[in-house]
């Protein structure tokens, strides 16, 4: 297409319009979506897998860290400080740091990088939730003979659940957006469409499909998490 553009530009000095500009390159093209449905769904699947994996892994690591930070007060500062350092590192650099160890072209690089970012959000929110549990409630439970496991599941968890869910929600939505940067390793979910369209001679329909797909996915994830939150914490509705 570029050579066509050059031809028309040289042949008609009166009308310096490139053929590439005249060729139809719509911003959105339903036929692109239908024709490439399988490819799109494949990238979408990877996007969802990476997001869910990162948030779940992050939650699994963040919960013990938050519990530890609450128990030993002097650890709270370093844990939060370290996590804000992680947060400051640009995602591209994060993937680049991991690439020599996990392979420049592997999805593991992206998964671990994303997990580190979710960790930051989750540790903060989990810690805030746990610190919000009133000390006298915990003391009363302990006085009633609750062991530490029962104390966590019956007292801490229900009371801290709104903060936990808020953290998971933010982590999920920002992870959906961040997955696109994984395109540097070839594992960017819908980001593959964005950069793929750019490389396919600025094919707008593909770029916009990828971009809109990301935003829609983030919105769906947000709504799902909000629904889950309502489902898990029915008592917060009764109070309001």
């Amino acid at each position: 297409m570029a050579s066509l553009g050059a031809l028309s530009a040289t042949s008609g000095p009166a009308a310096p319009v490139l053929a590439a500009d005249e060729a139809p390159n719509p911003w959105f093209d339903p036929s692109y979506v239908t024709d490439n449905w399988d490819t799109i769904v494949g990238h979408l699947g990877q996007h969802v897998r990476l997001t869910v994996g990162a948030v779940l892994l992050g939650a699994l690591v963040a919960l013990p860290l938050a519990l530890l930070a609450r128990r030993t007060r002097f650890l709270a500062g370093p844990v939060l400080g370290l996590s804000s350092v992680v947060y400051t590192i640009p995602s591209l650099a994060m993937f680049a740091f991991l690439a020599p160890f996990t392979g420049p072209l592997s999805a593991t690089t992206v998964l671990i990088g994303l997990t580190l970012y979710t960790l930051v959000v989750l540790v903060r929110n989990f810690l805030a939730g746990l610190q919000g549990v009133p000390a006298d409630v915990r003391e009363a439970a302990r006085g009633m003979g609750y062991g530490s496991a029962r104390l966590f599941f019956r007292v801490d968890l229900p009371l801290a659940l709104p903060a936990f869910m808020a953290g998971l929600r933010i982590a999920t939505v920002s992870t959906v957006a961040l997955v696109t940067v994984g395109v540097i390793t070839g594992n960017g979910g819908l980001g593959q469409l964005i950069i793929g369209g750019l490389n396919a001679n600025f094919y707008r329909a593909e770029i916009v499909t990828g971009a809109v797909g990301c935003v829609l996915l983030a919105m769906v994830a947000d709504v799902l998490m909000a629904g889950l939150e309502r489902l898990l914490t029915p008592w917060t509705r009764a109070v309001r």
Partner: protein, 243 residues
Amino acid sequence: MSAFGEAFVYLNDPFNWTRTGGILDLLVQHLRISALAVLLAAVLAVPTGVLLGRSGRGVGAVVVVSNVSRAVPTLALLTVLAVTPLGFSETGTVLALAAFAVPPMLTNTHVGFREVDRDVREAARAMGMSRGQMLTRVEFPLALPLVATGVRTAAVQVVATATLAALVGGGGLGRIINLGFGQQDTGVILAGAVLVAALALLTELLLVLLSTAVTPGPRRWPLRPVRASRAGEPEPTSSGVPS
């Protein structure tokens, strides 16, 4: 040789720093793009935040803007702007980065001005201050810590996000990482990662010190042990998005 060794060698070669399109050139370009984006966003966001915050209106709109910005991938906006008539220009990159710098500044400025104590405002008016005097001598000093936090969050985010411009043919230090991935050269990848991460962390450090210095009132030095926040309410305004 390990990736670390290669990265060390790459970073120690003066030619890699000083040649045309070398590290120094890319750094200057990176900082220029970032500064322009932050400036543009500040010009838009801070006055809007002041207006909305003082009038106490637009709370919903500000929240919506900040939530929507979280869902839109920076890479998507960068790419979309690159295929508009703007093309591969620094202008496109600056616009995209500025768009993502607006929400943190707007939210923090808005909250800063909205949370100025009602009684303090009333006292100022009772002392005969005009609206302009109230703004510059009462409200602004009180809102400054949050405004500074907003600008700092946005600036660090912009410096970090400017890296992504390299993925869509733009400049900046991200080029080194992009080149490294393109050549499957882990040494160059690691060298780029070190440079980009160091720049982001230095920016953060510098701005934290700066905002502490300009904040009036008793110093609250950063990096002190974190206070317990209110029940179930994690830091509401200042946290940006990882980029």
